[in-house]
Each structure stands twice: as structure tokens, then as C-alpha cells.
């Protein structure tokens, strides 16, 4: 039997890691779906109806899976982290309730119309449904990130002991809800979602374009996939550089507000100035594997790089080392590597975006088989980067569940037994594995089936001859 604290932490990590995939797909698809719906209504080009219908199917499956896994997440605050829920409920419960009422309701009700109601409602209401669904997904993120960012940079509260338990009381709602971390998290997360979906789109489209243009397989809907590839590349070339820019500003914000996390991201133990930015670093012994010490390991670094990043331009700046913080440290190796791989992926996506756009500009987008392969391999990497980013955020703040206020080890339900926690953990691992397998299976089936054929479409536009390809989107 595992210790209930450990089992609860593993279970929660597992729940979050699996759950986050679905909202990222929903949030990232939302602006695309609004655009496709708009173009479908406004233009005669049947490809937009195909785009809308195809990506709506993926959205709907992701939403359904996201709903059930999200419900698990909500319940786990009560079942496994009752001490946290009692202590922080006043600040944490509100955003959760408002997410349900303000965002989730909007998304779920209009999704019914958006997915099933094309033939039943006016164009205007249909377009409004797509906007309502998209707005719902993004507002969901607002409330969830308000709750999470408050845990990272808690403000606007006081702690009072009641019956031997600390209770967080809300004092200043504006300071608490609009805490300094929130805008950084929101921008970084939403941009990441759109970027991840653009990568998925580009990867899938590249597969069909590759088969058609390089391998010369006849593919009926090749225009659909060419269009998808181009739209994805446009989204990617906008989102990928932005992600690096606000990612850099976000990191500097972490230096100011969570220096311990930043030290873990860079594996800096001793406070120092002129700290190098290690591109790669390896422990010299196995014992150091979970206890990286940047100065004592084999590594390749840019001199003064970390200081330069942390201070925003001064290579001589001092960075606080982990040894300055008392008590347990976050698992440095996990944070260090997650951060590095995330950043490396971010730069790879920028490269990929400009490579694709350059080929497109040269008129060679369909000929570059190496680009197609790179896009195919990179399709799931946006999601990988998102996961790693969350690992940096959540693991990096350990041992705190609420930074500086409450430790994770104190937040687990007091009555929870190791047997219960282990039983549900095992059950969850199995259920979630099945869930992921089924989700992947269904998505792959949808992709392999491809978009509905032009002549299968029921609207009148599709019976008109194809438009000459002079639209500005091409």
C-alpha cells in the first residue's frame, strides 16, 4: 500500500496530465471553428463546410472526454485533498463554481446546437453558437487559471486558525482574482493551445499532402488537406514566435514571484552572479540524477545566460540558489528537464513555422518531403510541450500547494487510508489508460475517414461548380 499522500499526488498528477489534453484541443480548435463557420456561411467554397464538419467531430469527442475527466478533477479536490479544500475553499471554490456557471454551461448547451443543429437554425444563430462554444472554452480557462494562479502567487487573503485548522479568508477579491500570475498564465496557455492544435492540423494535413504529392497516391479530398496545411501554417507562424516572447517575460516574472521555482528550472543551488544558461546538463553520477547541481555537472552553457534571462538583460545579475530556501526542495531534475525540453520544442516550432511558410512563399510547399515528415513527427509535440510546461509550473512550486501558505503534504484528506488511495489510483490508471486508448482510436478513425466528400454535403453551395481559387486565404 502506498502512503495516502503519495498515492493522492500521483493520482492527481495522472488526472491532470490526461485531462489537460482535451481542454487544450478544445481551446485550440475554438478560434479555427469560429473561422471555418464564418467562412462556411459567407463563402461558396465547400471546403469550409468540410473543414467545419471535420474539425467539429474532433472537437465534440474531445469535449465529451474532457467533461468526464474534468469532473474527476473537480471531485478529487474533495475526495483526496479535503484539507486543502477546507483551508482554501473560500478562494478556490468560487472560481470553480463560476467556471461551471459562466463558461461550462455556455459551452455545453451551445455545443448541442453547434454539432447537431446546422439544419435547424438560422445562419446567424449557428454562427453565434460557434462563438458561444469558443467563448465558453476560453472563459473556462479564465476561471481555472484564476484559481491556479492564485495558488502560485496568492494575494488578497488572510489566514485565520479555526478549530486548529488554518482557513484562508478572502479580503480583497480584486487582488486575489487578478493576482500577478494570472495574465501570464492565461496568455501563455491560450497561445499554447492554438499552437498545439495548429501543429496537430499541420501534421495530419502533411501526411495526406505527402501521400498525394510525394508518393503520388490519389487522394480525393486533397484540396481540403492543402487548405488545412496552409491555415495551420498561418496559425503556427503567428503563435510560435509569440510563445517564445511571452514565455521569456513569464520566466522573468517567476524570478520575481517564485525564485525557488526559477532556481529549480535552472538547477542552481548556490546563489551566484554571472550564472550560465545550460542548454544541456548531465549529472556526473547516478546519485545526482534527482539532485542536479548545475555547477558540479557536465554541461554546456552560455556564460551569464541565466542571469541575463532572469534580469532581462544583465549577464552579471545575481540569482538566488535553492540552498537559500528552507525545507524540502522541488524535484529539481524533473523541473530542469521539463523546462529545457519545453523551451527546445518551442524553438523547434518556430523553426518549423518559418520553414513551412518559406516553402509556401517559394511555391514549394507540396514538394518538400522533409518538411512534411518534420510536420508529421511534430504533430503531437505541441501537446508534449504543454504537458512539460504544466510540470514545470506544478512540480516547480513544490513543496507548496499554495505558495508560502500551505504545503502539499498538509493538503491531503486527513481520514484517507493508504488502501483506499492505492485502490483508486490503480483503478484510475487502468480507466485512464483505456480512456486515452479509446480517444486516440476514435481520433485516428476520424482522421482516416477524412472529411465528408464534396457531393455528400447537403447544402446547396456544394452543388455549384468549384470557385476559382483567388480567395485571399489561399
Amino acid at each position: 500500500m502506498l502512503d495516502p499522500v503519495l498515492a493522492s499526488r500521483i493520482q492527481f498528477a495522472l488526472t491532470v496530465i490526461v485531462h489537460i489534453i482535451f481542454p487544450v484541443v478544445s481551446m485550440g480548435l475554438a478560434p479555427f471553428l469560429i473561422y471555418f463557420t464564418w467562412k462556411d456561411i459567407r463563402s461558396d467554397n465547400a471546403v469550409y463546410e468540410q473543414l467545419r464538419r471535420f474539425w467539429t467531430r474532433i472537437f465534440a469527442v474531445s469535449f465529451a472526454t474532457g467533461t468526464v475527466t474534468g469532473l474527476v478533477l473537480e471531485f478529487e479536490f474533495g475526495t483526496n485533498f479535503a484539507a486543502f479544500s477546507t483551508t482554501a475553499g473560500e478562494l478556490f471554490g468560487g472560481p470553480l463554481a463560476l467556471e461551471g456557471m459562466m463558461a461550462f454551461m455556455l459551452e455545453a448547451t451551445f455545443l448541442g446546437i453547434f454539432v447537431f443543429g446546422r439544419e435547424r437554425v438560422s445562419d446567424r444563430l449557428y454562427f453565434l453558437s460557434s462563438v458561444a462554444v469558443g467563448l465558453g472554452t476560453w472563459l473556462s480557462a479564465v476561471w481555472i487559471l484564476i484559481a491556479n494562479s492564485w495558488m502560485q502567487t496568492p494575494r488578497g487573503f488572510e489566514v485565520v486558525m479555526e478549530d486548529g485548522q488554518p482557513i484562508v479568508h478572502l479580503v480583497d477579491p480584486i487582488a486575489a482574482y487578478l493576482n500577478p500570475r494570472f495574465p501570464w498564465m492565461f496568455v501563455h496557455m491560450q497561445n499554447a493551445a492554438v499552437e498545439s492544435v495548429a501543429l496537430i492540423m499541420a501534421g495530419i494535413a502533411a501526411y495526406y499532402v505527402f501521400r498525394h504529392h510525394i508518393w503520388k497516391y490519389p487522394i480525393d479530398n486533397i484540396e481540403f488537406w492543402e487548405k488545412t496545411l496552409k491555415i495551420a501554417l498561418v496559425a503556427l507562424v503567428i503563435t510560435a514566435p509569440l510563445q517564445a516572447i511571452h514565455g521569456d517575460l513569464y520566466a522573468r516574472h517567476i524570478v520575481e514571484t517564485q525564485p525557488q521555482k526559477f532556481a529549480a528550472m535552472e538547477a542552481i543551488w548556490e546563489t551566484d552572479s554571472y550564472v550560465p544558461e545550460y542548454i544541456v546538463a548531465f549529472p556526473t553520477s547516478i546519485q545526482d540524477l534527482l539532485d542536479l547541481r548545475a555547477k558540479e555537472i557536465f554541461g554546456f552553457g552560455i556564460p551569464g545566460g541565466a542571469s541575463w534571462l532572469a534580469s532581462g538583460g544583465d549577464p552579471q545579475a545575481t540569482i538566488q540558489g535553492l540552498n537559500e530556501f528552507e525545507g524540502p526542495q522541488p524535484p529539481v531534475a524533473i523541473v530542469f528537464w521539463s523546462f529545457r525540453i519545453m523551451v527546445a520544442l518551442g524553438f523547434w516550432f518556430i523553426l518549423l513555422a518559418f520553414w513551412g511558410v518559406y516553402r509556401w512563399w517559394r511555391g514549394e510547399l507540396y514538394e518538400d518531403d522533409l518538411l512534411h515528415k518534420a510536420l508529421m513527427l511534430s504533430a503531437p509535440l505541441g501537446l508534449v510541450a504543454v504537458e512539460l510546461g504544466w510540470i514545470v509550473t506544478e512540480v516547480g512550486r513544490q513543496p507548496w500547494v499554495i505558495q508560502g501558505v500551505m504545503k502539499t503534504s498538509d493538503s491531503v484528506s486527513p481520514g484517507l487510508t493508504g488502501a483506499e488511495a492505492t485502490a483508486t489510483l490503480v483503478g484510475f490508471a487502468i480507466v485512464y489508460l483505456c480512456l486515452l486508448t479509446l480517444y486516440t482510436y476514435v481520433i485516428v478513425r476520424i482522421i482516416r475517414a477524412g472529411p465528408p466528400d464534396g457531393d455528400e454535403l447537403t447544402t446547396t453551395e456544394s452543388s455549384s461548380p468549384p470557385q476559382s481559387e483567388v480567395s485571399i486565404d489561399d
Binding site: V61, F63, A64, T65, T67, V68, G70, L71, V72, E74, F75, F77, G78, T79, A82, A83, S85, T86, G89, E90, F92, G93, G94, L96, A97, L98, E99, G100, M101, M102, F104, M105, L106, A108, T109, F110, G112, I113, F116, G117, R120, V121, L125, A132, L170, V171, D172, P173, G415, L416, E420, A423, T424, G427, F428, V431, L435, L438, V442, R445
Partner: protein, 333 residues
């Protein structure tokens, strides 16, 4: 923030906000049991239909709605968490394995129809059809156990009253599902499910009487509350509504039957709330007054709910009017 502090109030029109939120939490629970109730009912009725076309009609009746319906459960959790955080924490951690059973049932129920539609072949649809039935049966059953345990303040995982209430809720969701299907279907299916509805209603009545008896015997602390005028009145209304439902169903007045069915769910939830009040967590001996969050967050939540609940009803109004009327014979999504 002193200005906000002085503006904040513990009452609204003379009523304590704590009590309003206690009512609101149960109202939201009622909305979930009523709306998702017919999804569960349709899922259970899936077991009675072998015909592929009929099964698709059952699915088509609920597919545009069930996502929205299930969100009421998320909102129930959120509202309980926001207004009574200690109760949320105590209740959910105390019924640890039960909560996971509910989640498991809901995962199965949510996933199964989505999967069922993905492939046309028989073994696939047979197995996901079964999963849909099992999920739809176990979800209200476990929820019933949860509600009974909450009311009785028991720490045991499974109790006799829990099982009886669980079965009662299952019967009620079938009644609910039939009332909904009679609005949404035509021809043989509409006539066929009437028999299922009558059986479920009789079963429900038996289980109501059984529940009252079991609670009376096993929970002496609830006896006086059980005999209070309000609760007696609610029980009578509940029983009268079953009569109205039966009459409306046999005379093919579909809307009246559906409204009576809604009344059944809400009177049942009201009975639970009345029996519980003024406590909200019997095990910890917490009253509503003691468990409520402090005034400032409560006021923020109250303003939020006052603004958002009418909007939510508007959304549901739009959704249900877009998909109103019987599904067409060939309609499946």
C-alpha cells in the same frame, strides 16, 4: 476594501444567504437529477430495445442535450464547494470510494454513446450498448446512495437506506426517461415505452414507501422531521404527482406528464433538503449557518449566481426549443 466589506450582507430580503444557498445547492442537484435523469432513463431503456433503428432513435433523442444536462453536476459540485467548502471536503472525502464509483459510472455513461456511434458493426455496438446501460443504471444508483448517506449522516459505505434510495432514484430516472421519450418519439416506440413507464412508476411508489419506512426505523433522529407538516405535505404532493403523471400518460398528454415528472424530482429533492435542515453535515454536526463561507465571497458568489442562472435558463431555453418536437423517423446524428 472596507467599502466592499460594509456593503456586504448576510441576508437578502431578510432571508439568510446561508439558507438561500442551501436551497440553491439542492435546486441545482434537482436540475441535474431531472435533466440528466431522462438521459439515465433513456440509457436504461436501451436494455429493452433490440432493434438497431429504435436504439438509434433513443440515442438521437438525448444526444444534443446530455452534455448540457451533465454540466449541472459540475455546477452542483462547484456551488457546494464555493458556499460550503468544509462540507464539500468532508462529504467527498468521507464517501471516498462511493465518489469514485459515481465517477466511474459517469465516465462509462458519457463515453458509451460516443463510442457506440463510431462504428456500425454489431459486436462493437452490442458491447457499447451494454456499457451505456450499465453506466446509466449505476450512476443514479450510486448517486442515490450518496444522497441517502449525506442525509443520514452515515460514515458507512453502503447502508440499507442507501440501497433503497438508490433503487428509487433508478426507478425515477426511468419514469423521467419515458416522459421525455414520449415527447421526442412517435409511433410504436412512443406506445411501447408507456408500459415501461407504468412499471417504473409502480416500482417508484413502492420504493418511496419503503424508503420512508426504512428511514423511520433506522434513523430515530429524523422521525420528528419526517412527521413535520412540511415534509408530510411534500410527501403527499409527491404522491399526488405520481397520480397526475399516471393519468396524463394514459390520456397521452405528454407535456403534462413531463411537467408532473419534473415535479416528482423536485419534491423528492425538497424532502431530502427539509429532512436535513438545519444541518448540512450531520457527522460533523455542522448546521447551514456554521458551514457557510464568510460574507464577502458569499456575496460575490450570490451576485454571480443571480446574473448567471437566468442566462443559463436562457441557453437551455434556446437549446430545447431548437431541438423541440419529436425526432423524425430517419433522424439520427
Amino acid at each position: 476594501m472596507t467599502d466592499v466589506g460594509t456593503l456586504a450582507s448576510d441576508t437578502l430580503f431578510g432571508l439568510p444567504l446561508a439558507d438561500i444557498w442551501f436551497g440553491l445547492v439542492f435546486f441545482i442537484l434537482g436540475m441535474f437529477l431531472f435533466l440528466d435523469g431522462f438521459d439515465f432513463g433513456v440509457g436504461i431503456l436501451f436494455a429493452t430495445r433490440d432493434d438497431k433503428h429504435e436504439r438509434e432513435q433513443l440515442l438521437a433523442a438525448i444526444t444534443p442535450f446530455w452534455d448540457g444536462n451533465e454540466v449541472w453536476l459540475v455546477v452542483f459540485g462547484g456551488a457546494l464547494f464555493a458556499a460550503f467548502p468544509a462540507v464539500y471536503a468532508n462529504l467527498f472525502s468521507r464517501h471516498y470510494l462511493l465518489m469514485f464509483a459515481i465517477l466511474g459510472a459517469l465516465i462509462l455513461r458519457g463515453l458509451a454513446p460516443e463510442m457506440y456511434e463510431q462504428r456500425e458493426d454489431e459486436p462493437w455496438q452490442k458491447w457499447w450498448g451494454r456499457a451505456f446501460i450499465v453506466g446509466s443504471f449505476t450512476a443514479p444508483f450510486f448517486l442515490g446512495i450518496f444522497i441517502a448517506n449525506w442525509l443520514l449522516g452515515t460514515t458507512a459505505l453502503i447502508t440499507l437506506p442507501g440501497i433503497v434510495v438508490g433503487l428509487m432514484l433508478v426507478a425515477l430516472t426511468v419514469v423521467d426517461g419515458v416522459a421525455f421519450l414520449r415527447l421526442k418519439t412517435r409511433n410504436e416506440l412512443r406506445d411501447d415505452v408507456r408500459t415501461d413507464g407504468s412499471r417504473a412508476l409502480v416500482l417508484y411508489l413502492i420504493l418511496v414507501v419503503l424508503t420512508l419506512g426504512v428511514v423511520y426505523i433506522t434513523a430515530p433522529e429524523l422521525r420528528s422531521a419526517l412527521l413535520s407538516p412540511l415534509v408530510v405535505c411534500l410527501v403527499v404532493v409527491n404522491l399526488v404527482l405520481t397520480g397526475i403523471y399516471a393519468v396524463a400518460t394514459s390520456s397521452n398528454r405528454y407535456y403534462e406528464a413531463f411537467v408532473a415528472n419534473a415535479g416528482l424530482v423536485f419534491t423528492l429533492v425538497s424532502i431530502v433538503a427539509s429532512l436535513m435542515y438545519p444541518h448540512i453535515d450531520r457527522v460533523e454536526g455542522l448546521t447551514v449557518e456554521e458551514a457557510i463561507v464568510s460574507t464577502l465571497p458569499l456575496n460575490i458568489m450570490s451576485i454571480g449566481a443571480a446574473l448567471l442562472l437566468p442566462l443559463i435558463f436562457l441557453y437551455f431555453g434556446v437549446l430545447y426549443s431548437v431541438f423541440s418536437g419529436p425526432i423524425k423517423a430517419d433522424e439520427s446524428y
